[in-house]
Symmetry: C2
Subunit: 318 residues, 2 copies
């Protein structure tokens, strides 16, 4: 696509799918143009509601996201979907496969779908996702669904970006353990018990509710459990209602602003660290060089404090 | 204490308690002298075995640490104890209270005990703990016990420093949930079922063992469950034996080196980020200034990318 940054920005604002796709690739590859575009688009952002969806593989997240997207589209709301799979080293993978099911939306201009899986040496998948969400926000999407296979720190960082986080669980052997082990109980604003027509769903719901009742309320909100069967579109109306209730609960301007400022403070620190580390990597200190230094330190041939000073001197800081 | 850096280093090497204490304070306060001392002491490090102990409040961690320390002291091994409580805003707090019980060791020169609780605006408690562990290593301690009240990211970062991590659990209502919720199942090399004379201990042990059997082995090691009653010194001999077994299992030089290099790579990145952020904070960009910037961004009066560029320009980087 041959574009100047200016008409590129125009096209994104207008919701042009190819321009948005191209800009996301620029963000993923940390192309210099990406920042200029985000800078120009930033004043247009702040309109979208970002919903994070996380849960173990096989819980039916993708189908659920599909159903939610369809419901929001019926309300004439432009929807963006970002599917993030940090566990896959290749762009695409399992999540992209799931997305094939979504082809029904392929001709819908009010819907934009993108998979992301690349994780750089310095992490940064959460940062990339945040920038992509901003881009979709500026492109006029009013609901952004960020789906991630949930377990590690990456996923926690990603859902921290969300205005509302859904944790998707399913009844069945071992999933209780999986779900809890992930440490994702604390991040859920709403718990979705999907595949709730399966055996053991009642007991699972009871256990989950009991567990949630042990946790302290957050600002007067106690996370509800919503039962769904996404493949049959059952319970999804109740789920959007629960999301709306959560949104209304936290819409008091003061509370929302405080949360927003706190989030931007975090993001500023992250952006700053990322930029500083990019600068360091730009000075030839990539993963291999760092590994060599670490080996010297492990062998006590060099101390880590001197090593850091040397790196900083190379970057022009002392 | 009036000291030059040189005789300070000498005194630390000799295990002088006051010199060690003073140096830890310097590390905590990020005094310029701290780095010089760590630099000089670094070649003396690499001898200590670092054991991390984590678990929910009330599981009896401190008593257990006390018992372990006593056992290692009986083997003539110099012991260092670092008790970290990130949840407490004040130095001391609950953990220091527990430490009063340890007064039995107060006159033992082979034992050094320190509580830490200060968390700076940029985090860094894990980094401080790492530096303190290096210091104790250089001061001749051969076993370093790092105890932390375990749940959040801070604790996970702290135990990552350890050569061997003990997760302490206890039978009784709700603790199953607490323990699992913390996401600490994955970080335990050995699970300690303390207060194992209580009702429900057998069932708890069964559940725990079943849960652990679901997890994949790591390098041929499957975390065992050791039952203890620390208050009566029961099971602590078995626990030191389990630790020794773990140590032997991972003592193959090649594997240990690879782990050590990986750890130093992480620490180098952390040190580097910390130094860069210190530099930023040094330019007057403390928490308040950052909050003000975040408020401007939240209000869309400024974009985050320009804000970061401005900060970098102030530090002398572009």
């Amino acid at each position: 696509m041959s574009v100047t940054a200016d008409n590129w920005v125009e096209k994104i604002r207008a919701g042009d799918v190819r321009a948005i796709s191209r800009a996301i690739t620029a963000i993923e590859n940390q192309e210099p143009a990406a920042e200029g575009i985000l800078r120009q688009l930033f004043p247009d952002t702040g309109q979208a509601y970002l919903i994070g969806i996380t849960g173990s593989p096989g819980t039916g997240k993708s189908t659920l996201v599909d159903r939610l997207a369809t419901r929001y589209r019926k309300q004439q709301l432009p929807v963006g979907i970002v599917a993030v799979d940090p566990s896959s080293p290749f762009s695409g993978g399992a999540i992209l496969g799931d997305r094939i099911r979504m082809q029904g939306h392929a001709t819908d201009n009010g819907m934009f779908i993108r998979s992301m899986a690349t994780r750089g040496f310095l992490g940064g998948l959460a940062r990339t996702t945040a920038d992509v969400a901003l881009l979709l926000d500026a492109a006029g999407k009013r609901v952004i669904l960020v789906e991630t296979v949930g377990v590690g720190q990456d996923e926690v960082d990603i859902v921290k970006l969300a205005d509302c986080t859904l944790v998707v669980l399913m009844p069945g052997s071992g999933d209780e353990v999986q779900a809890i082990k992930a440490g994702i109980m604390e991040i859920g604003d709403i718990f979705v018990l999907n595949k709730s027509d399966r055996e053991g769903a009642d007991r699972f719901e009871q256990e989950l509710t009991a567990m949630l009742s042990l946790a302290p309320e957050r600002d007067g909100w106690r996370p509800p459990v919503v039962r769904t069967v996404a493949t049959e579109d059952k319970g999804t109306a109740e789920l959007t209602a629960a999301i709306e209730k959560f949104r209304a609960h936290f819409s008091a301007a003061e509370r929302r602003d405080a949360k927003s400022i706190e989030r931007w403070k975090q993001r500023l620190l992250e952006l700053l660290q990322a930029r500083l580390m990019q600068r360091v990597a730009g000075e030839g200190l990539g993963e291999a060089a760092l590994g060599a230094l670490a080996a010297q330190i492990a062998g006590r041939k060099k101390d880590p404090y001197s090593a850091v000073s040397e790196i900083l001197a190379r970057v022009g800081l002392k």
